[in-house]
Symmetry: C2
Subunit: 336 residues, 2 copies
């Protein structure tokens, strides 16, 4: 297959796909890979139970999940824009709150290693945090940066939750595209995706009763995944108990697959997108999670989104179909 361009109906973005490029001899950087086993407790980790954080506060001796306000937050409950109200220099106020979510006391495990109950506890915490932050802030972004390659320097399993009182850019973009689709077709975009992909199967990586994990047709990152509910739902706070349990199973499978792919602690950024927490019915909005992992060929060889990508358009070196096939092989090969 030759080079071509694909379109992402959820974000409106374009992706240049260059499958022939993956056959080249690798001339790029090889990064050192550190897969040393970690201790279950690390006295120098500011996220482990009982330890002191940079601002002097002491973590409780927590046993499940542990959530606290970020000590150095990007968002505050006060905003202070520069004067700049003209057309050219536009600045707006934005108020918000940044939370840190430790998944578990164990320093040495990842989200996928916590067992079904441990993952369920994280899902419940996401729901609880979204509900409580949602009373003050309309937009809640749950995410995790995993691994040093993704700017995460503390391997203690944790994610973040940033809430704002107005939509961040990409929430707005997805809202618009989903709404337009719904108005034109009378159906939710991502429910159509689920139906088509489940029937085609070429890009499906994992399927449970309630969830579907695919490499989307328009994936940007080499092994990007889109995690979709197989039922209509706009917000994580609307998940029923059975759907939560099933989600725990799905996350366990997907994360094991990732770690198994290059036999490493697989780096990624991951996060949930859902309708604003404003209580309004938005039937066009389907809850979903994106996984953006940087690795391309091995634990030490990643895809860089740089010059052409930053200035012109995203570019990928293997087809989403090949990526899905590779990930499925990891699952069925029972690696790990």
């Amino acid at each position: 297959m030759g080079p071509h361009r694909r379109f992402d109906p959820l974000s409106g973005r374009r992706i240049l796909v260059s499958p022939q490029r993956n056959r080249r001899p690798w001339q790029g950087q090889r990064e050192p890979v550190v897969n040393a086993p970690r201790p279950a407790y690390d006295e120098n980790c500011y996220l482990c139970p009982g330890n002191r954080r940079a601002n002097g506060r002491i973590n409780p001796a927590y046993s499940g999940t542990f959530v606290f306000d970020n000590d150095f937050p990007a968002l505050l409950d006060a905003s202070d824009p520069v004067a700049g109200d003209d057309l050219l220099f536009r600045a707006d106020e934005v108020r918000g709150r940044c939370r840190v979510l430790c998944y578990a006391p164990r320093h040495d495990l990842g989200l996928g290693d916590l067992g079904r109950d441990g993952i369920r506890a994280v899902i419940e915490t996401w729901i609880r945090e979204c509900a409580s932050l949602g009373r003050q802030y309309s937009h809640v972004q749950i995410f995790e940066n995993r691994g040093a390659q993704m700017g995460c320097s503390n391997p203690h399993p944790h994610g973040q939750i940033w809430a704002t009182d107005s939509p961040p850019e990409l929430h707005d973009v997805e809202d618009t595209h989903q709404r337009d689709w719904f108005q034109r077709r009378g159906r939710a975009l991502l429910l159509e995706v689920v139906e088509r992909e489940a029937a085609l199967r070429t890009r499906v990586v994992a399927k449970t009763n309630h969830w579907l994990a695919i490499v989307p047709f328009w994936a940007v990152w080499p092994f990007e995944l889109l995690l979709l509910p197989r039922f209509p739902i706009s917000r994580i706070t609307e998940l029923r108990v059975a759907e939560q349990s099933d989600l725990a199973e799905m996350l366990e499978r997907v994360l094991a697959c990732y770690d198994g792919l290059f036999d490493t602690t697989f780096p990624y950024s991951f996060g949930w997108h859902g309708a604003p927490q404003d209580g309004l019915a938005r039937p066009w909005w389907q809850l979903h999670a994106h996984f953006y992992p940087p690795l391309l060929r091995s634990a030490g060889v990643r895809k860089f989104m740089v010059g052409y990508e930053l200035l012109a358009e995203s570019q990928r070196d293997l087809t989403p179909e090949t990526a899905a096939e590779t990930l499925r092989a990891v699952i069925s090969g029972g690696i790990r």
Copy 2:
């Protein structure tokens, strides 16, 4: 100053600015910095004159710039989209060509180290390549990835030129925003920017007779720069001789400033944006160059565009005004 959000009228994007965040004690990754002196000629470098490339071809004994077709190009003169013409799975053909541009035979220098004449030779090559590629392809992207942190593994000074027969996403986006502005205001957006910024001076980093370098009000990367002509011009191929010489001076100053900032071979992705090479008059289009450097606090501490940035909106930790002030201090301090 507290957190706020800014708007980029050129791309339509939003940026969360969190100046209070730069005061936190640094807990992030510190990357090893390799600033070892390089030899003027490296027998293992596939870009040095006379050496053999991965596909067996031998580089000529070039003495100025040297341009060749990428041996493993992302674009070909043939395209082959997957079947996928429905609304959900849209794929289009795209034809193009990828060129590699060695700035000079010397392995140990960067673009900024070549002297005025050496930089002039690179500018002339950009113009020549744009003109000749433009006869077949409407969109030409000149860019450079510098440094291993930006996915460049060969330190031999070189850039790339990718040409396509249809607009990559961001070319379209900038075209639309500039055209809309022009229609509403009767003036080119980036000429208004030049005028306002030159008068304000807070975000100006360097100024020559014909060029202005600013940290834009809506900068995403910590020390991002926007390089603007101070006269109307849509395409690099339209540059006059005096404007080219002056550009060489500007590039020399800007690149020395970058290298001096953290006393390192400063990594960045850099590239030109101009009107399509279709011969049409597009008075709304102003030629310009973006510099996207990742470093934040030192040669080993960079800003990661990850979780929140990939899922919600860009976020920066120091104001563009502070960044400009810092860069100006490097220039006036005469560092380097």
